[in-house]
């Protein structure tokens, strides 16, 4: 498809969690605040308010460091449920403008408004209309920056240029200009490591990247080099390619070679319906993590552990597990569940104390952009955000079957829960 013919909006909430708190609580407005996890002492600032950013507080700074940089900062415990609810509301507003809404992270979405807007004038009007709907329905303190461009990558880059509350329009003939005003790292897809490697090749900006021989880039970065070359020309439009830097992360995930969860039941059970529900919950969670990382699997392993070693004759819990390998790779929770249940169903499921599921033989998913890039980067530092992602994921992919099952939550997620 001719990508210059499309019109894409990228909408990014400004200092999202902090803005929501400032909307809710007028006594936090105009002040430097930092949204943290539940255990503030050991937490990091997940989002700094606009005021805190101006005073030098950065995202993912430890609360200790934030206090040092900005002694007047108000540290406020995050409320993932609230952010998730508001997220659904702004996406619902977007959906009233176009059915083509793609949430990219908890506070960012892409809207393809080619049909609805017709041209860039229409797109600008629509952006203003969306902004006033956000104002009316969410309040004046929850603001967004909007970028409009012929593809997602450029729309996101345009959006980055004016914050907060910006509206930046980049028409096809203005793309190179936008790139040349931007730093390499501003582009979604170029992380600090890639930037260093580019610098080592003598490439410090997009102009140099564009002029660097494509074959040499490909020699250095393989298919990612092609992507870089095309990106510097503003020609990378498609989502699958968009977030492959990504590549580094995905590769390390593939090196991990499996995704899995097990769950120790609150009480042993012999009821297949109960087991099915837990297994489904696990499959959904594993599938969600895989989609988050943009990978698919061709093997599912399901297992159960029985009874209690103190009452059985053995030296430990007896267990049973098997695996299935299949041709069509998947990251869909329902598929994973169905495969896992086919493994477990024939087993005599009596007095089960633990159920688990894992996936392996992984590959990058060529059809699916790796979502939640920003949150993925954050998980390592903030468990509260991890919990939010889980809600976010299950909000989008929620299925009726798990509604009965309530996983007991802990700050890190499941109760007696082990990532494998």
């Amino acid at each position: 498809m001719d990508n210059t013919a499309r019109i894409i909006l990228h909408i990014d909430m400004n200092s999202y969690f902090a803005s929501v708190e400032q909307q809710a609580n007028p006594f936090l407005r105009g002040k430097p605040i930092g949204i943290t996890g539940k255990n503030q002492e050991r937490s990091v600032v997940a989002t700094a308010s606009i005021e805190a950013k101006a005073l030098g507080v950065k995202t993912a700074m430890s609360t200790w460091e934030a206090k040092k940089v900005c002694p007047s900062i108000i540290l406020w415990p995050g409320d993932p449920e609230k952010y998730s609810d508001i997220m659904h509301r702004f996406n619902a507003i977007y959906e009233s403008f176009t059915p083509n809404v793609e949430p990219f992270s908890v506070d960012e979405s892409f809207l393809d408004i080619t049909e609805e807007a017709e041209d860039y004038f229409g797109a600008t009007c629509m952006a203003q209309a969306i902004r006033s709907r956000l104002y009316e329905e969410l309040g004046e303190h929850i603001t967004a920056s909007i970028g409009i461009a012929p593809n997602k990558l450029m729309a996101k880059l345009a959006c980055e240029t004016v914050k907060p509350n910006g509206l930046t329009v980049v028409r096809p003939h203005e793309i190179l200009d936008l790139l040349d005003r931007s730093e390499l790292e501003d582009l979604c897809g170029i992380g600090p490591r890639i930037k260093e490697r580019l610098n080592a090749l003598g490439i410090a900006n997009f102009k140099q990247l564009r002029e660097f021989p494509r074959e040499n880039l490909e020699r250095e970065f393989h298919s990612y080099g092609t992507w870089l070359h095309e990106a510097a020309l503003g020609r990378v439009a498609s989502a699958p390619l968009l977030f492959k830097e990504g590549l580094g992360v995905v590769t390390s995930q593939q090196e991990a070679k499996s995704y899995g969860h097990s769950y120790t039941l609150p009480q042993n059970t012999s009821d297949p319906r109960v087991l099915k529900r837990y297994l489904f919950g696990l499959a959904d969670k594993v599938g969600w993590r895989m989609r988050r990382d943009g990978v698919v699997a061709r093997r599912v392993t399901a297992f159960v552990r029985f009874g209690d070693p103190s009452t059985s004759l053995g030296t430990g819990f007896s267990s049973h597990g098997e695996q299935r390998t299949f041709q069509e790779p998947t990251a869909d929770g329902m598929h994973l569940f169905q495969i896992a249940w086919k493994i477990l169903e024939p087993i005599s499921l009596v007095d089960v104390r633990l159920v688990g599921l894992s996936t392996s033989i992984l590959s990058g998913d060529p059809t699916q952009p790796s979502l939640f890039k920003k949150e993925r980067n954050m998980t390592s530092v903030l468990s509260a955000l991890d919990e939010l992602q889980h809600r976010y994921g299950s909000g989008i992919w929620k299925r009726g079957a798990t509604l009965q099952t309530e996983f007991k939550s802990r700050s890190s997620g499941f109760h007696f829960d082990h990532e494998i």
Partner: protein, 82 residues
């Protein structure tokens, strides 16, 4: 000061334009007039949908929780400026 609470309260509400607007509340034998409803959001509690109202008067921020099934209000957060 920021306090997390879970206290049953009495709330006077107005129903306007298909919205529920808390107007005043009684907590700890004191009456508070609510000046602003700043944000309303919902959350799931099991199969139930719970409503939260972030409201304020001149000196306090209150987060009120409404369980629409049993029509019970609770004060769950209090923040006093300064």
């Amino acid at each position: 000061m920021h306090e997390i609470l879970n206290d049953p309260i009495d709330v006077t509400v107005a129903f306007t334009d298909n919205r529920v607007l808390p107007r005043a509340m009684r907590w700890n034998e004191r009456e508070y007039k609510i000046d602003q409803v700043n944000l309303v959001h919902t959350a799931r509690e099991g199969a139930k949908r719970i409503f939260y109202f972030s409201v304020s008067d001149a000196a306090n921020y209150f987060k009120l929780k409404l369980d629409p099934e049993i029509l019970e209000w609770r004060l769950v957060e209090l923040y006093t400026d300064g």
